[in-house]
Symmetry: C2
Subunit: 401 residues, 2 copies
Amino acid sequence: MIPDISTKLSLSAKSMKRSAIREILKLLKDPEMISFAGGLPAPDSFPVTEIKEISAMILETQGASALQYGTTEGEAELREMLLKRHNEKGLSVGHENLAVSTGSQQALDILSRILINRGDYVICGLPSYLGGLSAFNLNGAQMEGIPFDENGMRADELEKALKKLKDQNQIVKFIYTIPDFQNPAGITMPDSRREEILEIASKYDLLLVEDSPYRDIRFEGKEQKLMYEIDTEGRVITLFTFSKILAPGFRIAWILANPEIIEKFLMAKQSADLCSPVFVQKIIAEYMKRGLLEKNLVNTISLYKSRRDHMLGCFEKFMPEGVKWTKPEGGLFLFITLPEHMNADDLLELAVKRNVAYVKGSVFYCNDCGKNTMRINFSYSDPDTITKGVKRLAAVIKESM
Amino acid sequence: MIPDISTKLSLSAKSMKRSAIREILKLLKDPEMISFAGGLPAPDSFPVTEIKEISAMILETQGASALQYGTTEGEAELREMLLKRHNEKGLSVGHENLAVSTGSQQALDILSRILINRGDYVICGLPSYLGGLSAFNLNGAQMEGIPFDENGMRADELEKALKKLKDQNQIVKFIYTIPDFQNPAGITMPDSRREEILEIASKYDLLLVEDSPYRDIRFEGKEQKLMYEIDTEGRVITLFTFSKILAPGFRIAWILANPEIIEKFLMAKQSADLCSPVFVQKIIAEYMKRGLLEKNLVNTISLYKSRRDHMLGCFEKFMPEGVKWTKPEGGLFLFITLPEHMNADDLLELAVKRNVAYVKGSVFYCNDCGKNTMRINFSYSDPDTITKGVKRLAAVIKESM
């Protein structure tokens, strides 16, 4: 008897969808295709030569431990370097606040697992990072989306939603935010808004997950405070990653949190993958020790800034009237809003035919809205490609207007 | 207000325990300590020189893609090499049957997530690999343990248990087995037993998870069939890993399964960590391409065999009467059974005081039995250390008799 797999699946498995972004990345193998879809760092930003030298050195001097199992909390050298960097930036954190994860995606997933029971609510932005939404979804969360203004998640709307959910006796576990150069909206919350949101989190006794992959990639404007820093009560959990500031292929990220959260996080991580890859953790630790991270960041920022500027210039030049876009102070993404009546979901097929790709904005909305939006990555493509791609995209939009 | 984290936790988080093995590993930093506790490969088995050369070559020739995001299903080169290896061994599998995972632990966890609803049953051996039990537990499974005889999981007891659970209207999702050199019991199931177990799985329409980390490390005796190979219905999911045959620090493993399972597995993996570390996947692919895996396996097998033989010799010489142990045909572990009235859990404290450590066997029993058993690793320590450690352990046991 051939087993009917559908009868074997868990509720989680039944509700899963393949990631729209990962699926689109697979379609883009045509060399003629210009993709603004992925959230890929520029390969030019990878310090290959230094990594090569450090890899050899690590294997030479500590090959046996680099290839062995490591500890669940992360390699000691890397943990030291991370704490040192945070402390130097004025953040008072210690070993009890830190856990290494296998990419930020694992952190999002593990946090969901240790916090969410099926049916619990997570508050997220409209729009919000798809990988976050999919982790919450996999873990059975219901999502309540909060609209944005130019300063990010609206405090009044947040309070309204929380009041409503409270009246309905719903359990809300945490608020999910990306305060710096939000993915996909490109918006940065000013300190004042961060404080407002945190006050509401405190009033309703909620945890707050601050996803901060792009924070170090700021082109201009004043650095705003980490919500982790503003928080005096231990309710903020902040996620950082090397994927956007060094190399996503290493799959190394880290979180800062209340020691009780860290304790549970590590227990879940033991069951999830025992430990994160050791060899690459040691490479990163040595890379940081040599001061190369900050040096490379300067290059990455300047590279991405020039690409953002170039893309904004192309938008000005080629986009038809009625199309709006964000001007992010950092990060990797622009967010386009088409006139209300247009549908960027439908447009994607035509765009791909014309060899240009984006992510339809609707996938970032937990409430099925955002049909007239698209996320555009500017970090991956070189200026000539950006020009060509924006021309193609503008033509597709114009044609469909 | 300081949040009360305990009110925020999910049911999974509340039921989690730290892994007894990982906890013990942390206690063992005393250089005088001889640890038979971990499941660590011998550092001498790591091909550091080759890895160093290959790492440099990968970064030189494909640095940009080695450091970039990869695909969820795993790097193409690695997938090719894995399929080639399986096909050469007569297993008919294709891309639709294969997924790479971040260590086998991730595979155990993801399979649990896509198959188990809270309260569903998993059938496991008495004893069974702790990492499996903890993944099932994290995902809300109840466990039913099946006693062993010298051929592994007893078919009659399995059928009895399944009948009982069926009568109780319980949902059973899969049987978890480690057919080769079982961890911790060291037992290998003969083909006949594998067939019997599979017939029962088919009769009760269950999936079967075949965890196969040690299969390639066979010292003697005839290789038995993979249950994946015996299965004609698509109900076996088999887990393999590079942790025991190359380097656990890479965190790379893979599974073979029915395409429907693979599809769901990959969707869940997208939410769990997007993709496994890319750089190390490319290193492994090149390592295999150069034929080094099989070459290194010969060395590893001969090293571990000599250590097993040495440890068995020491047991014969030093262990007091009444102590029994397994003589595994491969793998990394021996399993000791003390006289019934003795308690290996209590003994551990004394043993650690005398600078020798093991894992108490009871942690491998989902039914709280096995108090008079211990798991002993023979792969990690060199012969002199083994002699010293067994002497210490034998003395502790004798003293407590």
